[in-house]
Amino acid sequence: MTTDQAVDSVASTISSYLETKAGGPVAHDADLAAAGVLTSMVAMEIVVFLESTFGVSIVGRDLKLDNFRTVDSMVALVTRLRENPDNA
């Protein structure tokens, strides 16, 4: 699998998870906070989902809401943590 394909697959896994939360399609650049999907409780559920699905741990400075506002920002976070697992 090329890097692009890997990124696509992360993105589609994340968006299908979010679609169950949003009750409809989720554009990869849609602001989930503005759409009312990223509530305080859902935000933490997303963190746990990303960690268990992609085997990453999201800690320290990465634990901020901005990283979870869009599918694109979550893909960027997961990709970075997978490439540098020690640089959390």
Binding site: T39, V47, S52, I58, L65
Partner: protein, 279 residues
């Protein structure tokens, strides 16, 4: 040595209160009779601490240390002891009686009851002037306001200690007089009960009830999402406790709510309630 807080009961509220204190750098001893519950609580506190950080709700200080114990014996030197066991007067009586015999005079005893009158609980303690109610909302580490219930025998000095404690964890308290359900439970619980009744009668689905209450009346999440967060079993216990003391049949939990509890659908903590939850 930093003064330590003792929290009794490692359920949803006990772990949430422990997280609040730990996030503010205060060490906590969390006590429960079940070792398995304490094991799970460690994981919950860790996750809740990250939740608070994620939402910018934790100050930038090193977290306090969490100690767990199956015995209250270590609570003697605590800054304060917070009781967060189930909403059954007998259980609260038992634990408050035990703790009151151990702590030094001057140690504030706090009940996180959502509605059992403080003066009723005061019968269990040696120094009723040192007992006070702080009704934390779930999740305690995210909601910045608490309801403080002052019993008729609660002293000024105890109220002063409560203010200092709330300052330490950056919470604002509104003090009210003692009464069944105080203010928040007396208003919220019958509303949730009626919302459940409406769903049981088929007038509307849970999501429609919540959407209407949020969209038309400005409720942040809707009463049934709130119910799932509180825990439907706790809600039923609180409603019975309110009914027992106020007599109004409106407080008796409706069949739809009782059915959910009998089916083990207790809300978020069990994975389903009025809504389904994953992860």
């Amino acid at each position: 040595m930093t003064p330590r807080l003792t929290v009794l009961g490692a359920g949803v509220m006990g772990t949430g209160i422990a997280t609040l204190a730990i996030a503010h750098g205060i060490p906590v001893t969390l006590v429960d009779i079940e070792p398995a519950v304490l094991d799970r609580a460690r994981g919950s506190v860790d996750r809740q601490l990250r939740h608070a950080q994620l939402l910018g709700a934790a100050p930038d200080v090193p977290p306090g240390e969490l100690t767990t114990s199956t015995s209250v014996a270590g609570c003697a030197g605590s800054l304060a002891v917070i009781e967060a066991v189930s909403e059954h007067a007998e259980q609260k009586d038992k634990i408050l009686r035990e703790v009151s015999g151990i702590v030094a005079p001057g140690t504030v005893l706090i009940s996180n009851t959502s509605g059992i009158p403080i003066d009723e609980l005061a019968a269990s303690v040696e120094r009723p002037d040192e007992l006070v109610g702080i009704h934390f909302m779930n999740p305690p580490y995210l909601i910045t306001m608490v309801e403080v219930a002052r019993g008729p025998r609660t002293s000024d000095r105890t109220m002063e200690s409560v203010r200092s404690l709330l300052d330490l964890v950056n919470r604002r308290g509104i003090a009210v007089h003692d009464a069944p359900g105080f203010v928040t439970s007396r208003l919220l619980h019958p509303m949730i009960n009626n919302a459940a009744r409406i769903v049981g009668e088929g007038v509307a689905g849970a999501d429609e009830v919540d959407e209407l209450m949020a969209g038309c009346l400005g409720h942040p999440t809707g009463p049934l999402r709130t119910a799932d967060l509180i825990g439907l079993d706790n809600l039923v216990d609180s409603l019975f406790a309110l009914h027992e003391r106020l007599g109004d049949p409106h407080y008796l939990p409706c069949e739809h709510l009782l059915d959910k509890v009998r089916a083990g659908r207790l809300g978020r903590k069990s994975g389903s309630g009025f809504y389904e939850y994953r992860s």
